[in-house]
Amino acid sequence: MSLDTVKHAADTPEAPQPWAELGLKRDEYDRVREILGRRPTGAELAMYSVMWSEHCSYKSSKVHLRQFGDKAPHSDALLVGIGEQAGVVDVGRGIAVTFKIESHNHPSYVEPYQGAATGIGGIVRDIIAMGARPVAVMDPLRFGAADHPDTRRVLPGVVAGIGGYGNCLGLPNIGGEVVFDPCYQGNPLVNALCVGVMKHEDIHLAKAAGAGNKVILYGARTGGDGIGGASILASESFDSTKPSKRPAVQVGDPFQEKLLIECTLEVFAEGLVTGIQDLGAAGLSCATSELASNGSGGMRVELDTVPLRDSSLSPEEILMSESQERMCAVVEPANVDRFLEICAKWDVIATVIGEVTDGDRLEIFWHGEQIVDVPPRTVAHEGPVYDRPQARPAWLDALRADDPAALPRPADDAELRAQVLALVSSPNQASKAWITAQYDRYVLGNTVLAQPEDSGMIRVDEESGLGVAIATDGNGRYAKLDPYAGAQLALAEAYRNVAATGATPLAVTDCLNFGSPEDPSVMWQFAEATRGLADACLTLGTPVTGGNVSLYNQTGEAAIHPTPVVGVLGVIDDVARRTPMAFREAGQLLYLLGDTADEFGGSAWSQVVHGHLGGLPPKVDLERERLLGEILVSASRDGMIDAAHDLSDGGLVQAVAESCLKGGQGARLVVPDGLDAFTFLFSESTGRAVVAVPRGEEVRFTDMCAARGLPAARVGVIDGDAIEVQGAFTLPLDELREAHERTLPALFA
């Protein structure tokens, strides 16, 4: 069939178009026709359909995400806020840090290795596009039941993909999470976070300004991979003689991306870039329309100049291809030659594909014929917005009424001991070393803390020792019981984890993983979670700087637990002052900070021992979190503590076990007055941490806690080669280590 040009579209208003197959609703298609005053061309339809998709337009989530801006706490540290490709935070000394988390959930289920690999690739390009050198990645991962056969397919592929791409890129992987729950069966969550560092003056934003400036596409050639809707367009309607649908999952080449990083940083350093954007979801459709929309509005692109891997690609496919490792830059004419020269030095293909115009239309040509003529804002920023119906789930009251208080607790000390072993060896609480050993944590030479520490910590300035710490956390079980509180608990935990290493929390990124927005109960969960997170960010003074929403994590009627994953970034003046988690010195005193209550709703204990989920999650107390954070940071700065570990899922015994195993030291614990051993060991009350205090610092430390009103109870001492709970049981470290470390290799090696 002949080319569907703008003129042809105007002449054939009634030609049938595959808008429904491309995922547009009738009213959305009508709106496109209204905007254009005619039917869209095939290329235009391709652009609108992909840019107005949930993934690109946030059409169901936008009305809720606005709260992150509306309720944002004032922060002097925020240099670039929500809305750009990634937020940018001032960490002092003229240095800025950018960080963001994204999801690559669906591709990772279809093709675990490439899905996870290209997830890293995409988030890394977002960070480069801000002008920053990427310095670390983290991966919060969630899979179905650990012993489900499909988890054996998905997990090893995902882990190998993250390692294969990230290791080859030379980025240390410094943390993340691995969580198993049957609710993620068929819908694994593969989130990826990247952090980058730059000087203040190097911040770059995605916009095309200045008529006559050239648009340069550089990086990999464009191929047929990653075309979702476009293959429908190409094969089912426009040209039925084409081969069958191409793979919808992109294929990554980390070597190409490494060259792209070095090449991009070099063109930035020489000041050759006016605007820049990475090509991720929706490929060129997204990059051209967003660049133009953020600038003065006009851009002309000669699509046939795009270097191709496959010469048979149609213009619609080229516009929608999600081939990886590509970037788009806007460059002043005088700088074009030098730009191309640097690309050539790095063996990166670079092509001038168009220029910025003084009009207000995005115009795309194919061998001289116009196939796109649209106002770019209508593609990129003025897509449909839905305030979808919400309904509190009918099952919620019954779930909350199923109180874990009714669950049988250990009858004697032997059972208590057995449950401790069961907990630390359960897939969620077991050592993740089998996974993290497949990631390079050393490259770049600035990794101060990495998994399994509470947060990853990177030195960003070698002279002063200035550093940043990042933690990601989320607890779908809590959020299922109460999405408002669940989102706040995720933030609280990440905040606490950052503070536990001695860094002051500054800013937040989030990845909101939910089921289908068309299900009112999922939409209610989403609304509650975003409201909870925005409120908590306001209280803690940590603005959301950006992030990602992943909806439709659902198979049939069964949605995943609502899973807001929250990343918190903190700053530390001197990484030499960091607080690690390991108990290293026998004789140091163990203090439990915070209040411990009988709270087991959504707990690891209820899951591991009883397979139970019900009741209410632990109480949120953000003022307490803030106070605890201040104490942990002060104690780190003034050298009052030698180790700290936050208390979260699994409670005190999980934290003590991890700290003992890491340091190769045992601990003698004494149950404090007013608590029973069970609650002491397993409660998941929030706002708590366990710290190791050198004897010489005890008075100074406890005085500080008393003066500032933070409960601090002496609960034991580092000693011996076992965890001994006095009057209850003794657990040799060797036995503990065996239990903690054998689980994942037994399942996946």
Partner: protein, 224 residues
């Protein structure tokens, strides 16, 4: 005058800046060398760093070996220039036939990153003179293709001539023959190993500072 140690950057090199930092901490002057430039800029020694040169396309190190900079390095190494190949650099040295044998995929088929104990078997090379024979050190190991292989005769020769420089302790991490972690050439100026001494030069970021001795050894030898 400070000793100049060149660190080559190939497309895909990753630990080049780390090697430069290690040289600096040891008191030398790191000099960045570019794969496309034959000129070694009067350096006194060369480090081929870790990474995935040319994306490990074809075979690890197979393409890097033909880069312009390697032509000069191969010539000068044969004339006695101290050369250290770390991880991918070791693979390049084997592909260049400056060292015998080859590196194959880890026997367990996974990339592995861990703190690795090693025994220094030969403390007489250009890069190990600051250690003592039999000394045990711990430095990071991180690779996917670190299994050292060679035919039995070559392995016997290496052993007989004392050219096995490092051996893995506490478990062979990748299936290397005879637990070999690193070797040297007959003259002792060219050393290659899979573990990463440049990541064990600061207490803050490494498991130990055991790796510093590589760099101080070379500098001391060059000053003397």
């Amino acid at each position: 005058m400070t000793t100049r140690v060149g660190v080559v950057t190939f497309p895909g090199s990753l630990d080049d800046r780390d090697a430069q930092r290690a040289v600096k901490l040891a008191g030398g002057e790191p000099v960045a060398l570019w794969h496309g430039d034959k000129d070694l800029h009067q350096v006194d020694a060369v480090i081929l760093p870790g990474g995935f040169s040319y994306g490990d396309y074809l075979r690890c190190g197979a393409i890097a070996r033909f880069s312009p900079v390697m032509e000069t390095i191969i010539d000068q190494a044969r004339a006695g220039l101290p050369v250290l190949g770390i991880c991918n650099g070791f693979q390049v040295l084997c592909e260049s036939h400056l060292l015998p044998g080859a590196l194959t995929r880890n026997d367990h088929l996974h990339f592995i990153c861990r703190d690795q104990r090693l025994r220094v078997e030969n403390a007489a090379t250009a890069w190990t003179a600051d250690y003592t024979a039999g000394q045990e050190i711990t430095v990071p190991l991180k690779n996917g293709e670190g299994g050292y292989v060679a035919d039995e005769r070559t392995l016997d020769e290496l052993e007989a001539e004392g050219r096995v420089v490092f051996r893995y302790l506490g478990g062979n991490p990748n299936g290397s023959r005879r637990d070999i972690a690193g070797i040297t050439n007959e003259a002792g100026n060219v050393v290659g190993l899979m573990p990463h001494p440049e990541h064990a030069v600061e207490a803050l970021t490494g498991p130990t500072i055991d790796g510093l001795g590589f760099f101080t050894s070379a500098l001391r030898k060059l000053v003397a």
